[in-house]
């Protein structure tokens, strides 16, 4: 492990963390702008040209607000909740391959922080950890409504994790590997997994909506029933972290969907470009374009579809998605048997 390797990884990690935070920041603005568009309003346009400084203004506002910790709340866990939410949202990016290798200063630089050979499972592990932030925060607030929201969130996440796992099994049967890098490499050019696994992708996408607590699955925060949600008692930047973690999660799950089903950094006619660095950089651009399109889709759905009722949510998860995912596994198995992959 030489110095150059450590520096390279440090730069990569800081860059990825910075990019994901900036994208999440501007997703909040994009969300409000699109919401304005869908509702025939203007949206935020006061801070800076076209409201471009709005996220900064929001950040300053949240940081300078008074911080209130309820008297009977458990202080340590109360602070741990939002921190854990933020932490789990940020660490998933470690296994995502952002592009092909670059060749800089005579070194081959991998655009992936860690290529562990159980990458897909790592993503699942982190996703399943994400619910702790909400549960701990909801319980530590010492508020009935927060607790109800936390419990709701936990049951929702557990239910949809099952369907998510089953939908990914069909994909793994095809690719034969758990490494996200190898899955991306297999989809070179236009050989994307979405063409082989449309049903699996649909299930996976619905489950990612549920795991990120986005509409129509935003049951954990439901103003009409729960006063606010798991973060009712939170103020200042701790509330900000809960809300911000949702946007980072959106970015991360868009990146996962893009790399698992939509070819990752691959794009058509990529083999025609002879310079590997140029090809890799276009690949990174293609990957981010896909991610941004998915984020737009998240926003689009939020301002189009109303929220589910709780029993509808459970029915969809257990009685529709899980059987569909099992059917998808059987279909994929039959397909592999007949066509030989």
């Amino acid at each position: 492990m030489d110095i150059a390797f450590i520096i390279e990884k440090l730069i990569l990690i800081s860059a990825i963390l910075g990019i994901s935070l900036v994208i999440a920041m501007y997703t909040t603005l994009a969300e409000r702008k699109f919401a304005g568009f869908f509702q025939d309003r203007v949206g935020p346009n006061r801070a800076g040209p076209w409201g471009l400084l709005q996220p900064l203004a929001d950040g300053v506002k949240l940081f300078t607000k008074e911080e209130i910790i309820p008297t009977h709340a458990n202080t340590f866990l109360f602070v741990l909740g939002p921190s854990l939410s933020m932490f789990t949202a940020c660490i998933t990016t470690a296994v995502i391959p952002w592009g092909q290798d670059l060749f800089l200063f005579g070194r081959q630089v991998s655009l992936q922080v860690a290529d562990i050979n159980v990458g897909v499972l790592y993503v699942f592990g982190v996703v399943s950890l994400g619910v702790y932030g909400v549960m701990i925060g909801g319980w530590a607030s010492n508020n009935k409504f927060s607790l109800l929201a936390a419990v709701r969130s936990a049951s929702q996440n557990i239910s949809y994790e099952i369907a998510m796992g089953l939908s990914i099994i069909a994909l793994l049967m095809m690719t034969g590997t758990l490494s996200l890098r190898e899955i991306s490499e297999q989809q070179s050019g236009m050989n994307w997994n979405i063409f082989y696994q449309p049903l699996g992708f649909l299930i996976f996408m619905i489950c990612s909506f549920a795991e990120t607590n986005r509409t129509p699955f935003d049951l954990p925060e439901c103003e009409t029933e729960l006063v606010g949600g798991h973060h009712t008692e939170y103020s200042s930047m701790k509330l900000g972290f809960y809300l911000f973690a949702e946007y980072i999660n959106m970015f991360v799950s868009s990146a996962i969907m893009a790399s698992l089903y939509f070819g990752g950094y691959n794009y058509p006619f990529m083999h025609l470009i002879s310079n590997p660095n140029v090809a890799a950089l276009i690949g990174v651009a293609a990957f981010f374009t896909k991610i941004l399109l998915f984020i737009f889709f998240f926003i689009w759905v939020r301002w189009t579809v109303p929220r589910f009722r709780y029993d509808q949510l459970m029915k969809l998860g257990w009685k529709v998605l899980i059987p569909l995912a099992i059917v998808n596994i059987a279909l994929t198995g039959a397909g592999i048997l007949i066509f030989g992959k």
């Binding site: 159980v118 592990g125 936990a154 557990i158």
Partner: protein, 166 residues
């Protein structure tokens, strides 16, 4: 390096495991248990058993502990409402736990652990590919029987949870 890492991790594991028992608040206790499972995951990683590590992470930390927390949050476990066990029962509990420990220690001593540093015969056995090969060739029958066992347990649980239709 490997040895000191192992001892450090074992110390942390035992520390959190003890906190699970001694914590007054059941929620704290289950959160310490989450930490214990996390350190056990790290132990698996030291043994190069990546698959086992990540599955331990997903299943125990991500699913089972969430369910335990979930059910504890519904209960109202206060000192006042919780019925205290009689001292005879407590005494019996200590004795049975001590006997269990005696059996475990005896078993470990008999297998000849002792001072010999543990060596992996096949260091790559824990990787997904190798584990899958072993599981679906040599141990196919036990593997399938275990899955049937789990399925029957699941069906039984559903049957018990279902309301009686009269």
């Amino acid at each position: 390096m490997g040895h000191s890492l192992f001892y450090l991790l074992s110390f942390i594991t035992l520390f959190f495991a003890l906190l699970v028992v001694f914590a007054k608040n059941p929620i704290h206790s289950s959160l310490y248990m989450v930490m214990t499972f996390f350190t056990i995951t790290c132990h698996y990683l030291i043994l190069n058993a990546q698959f086992l590590a990540i599955v331990n992470f997903i299943v125990y930390m991500g699913a089972i502990m969430v369910l335990i927390l979930f059910s504890i949050m519904f209960l109202n476990l206060n000192q006042a409402t919780e019925p205290q066990k009689s001292s005879l029962l407590k005494f019996a509990g200590v004795i049975s736990a001590g006997l269990l420990m005696l059996t475990l220690v005896g078993a470990i001593v008999k297998t000849g652990g002792g001072d010999v540093p543990f060596e992996l015969i096949k260091p790559d056995i824990g990787l997904v590919k190798n584990l899958g090969r072993v599981l679906f060739n040599e141990f196919l029958l036990p593997f399938e029987i275990a899955s049937v066992l789990l399925l029957s347990a699941m069906v039984g649980a559903v049957l018990l949870a279902k309301k009686e239709i009269n």
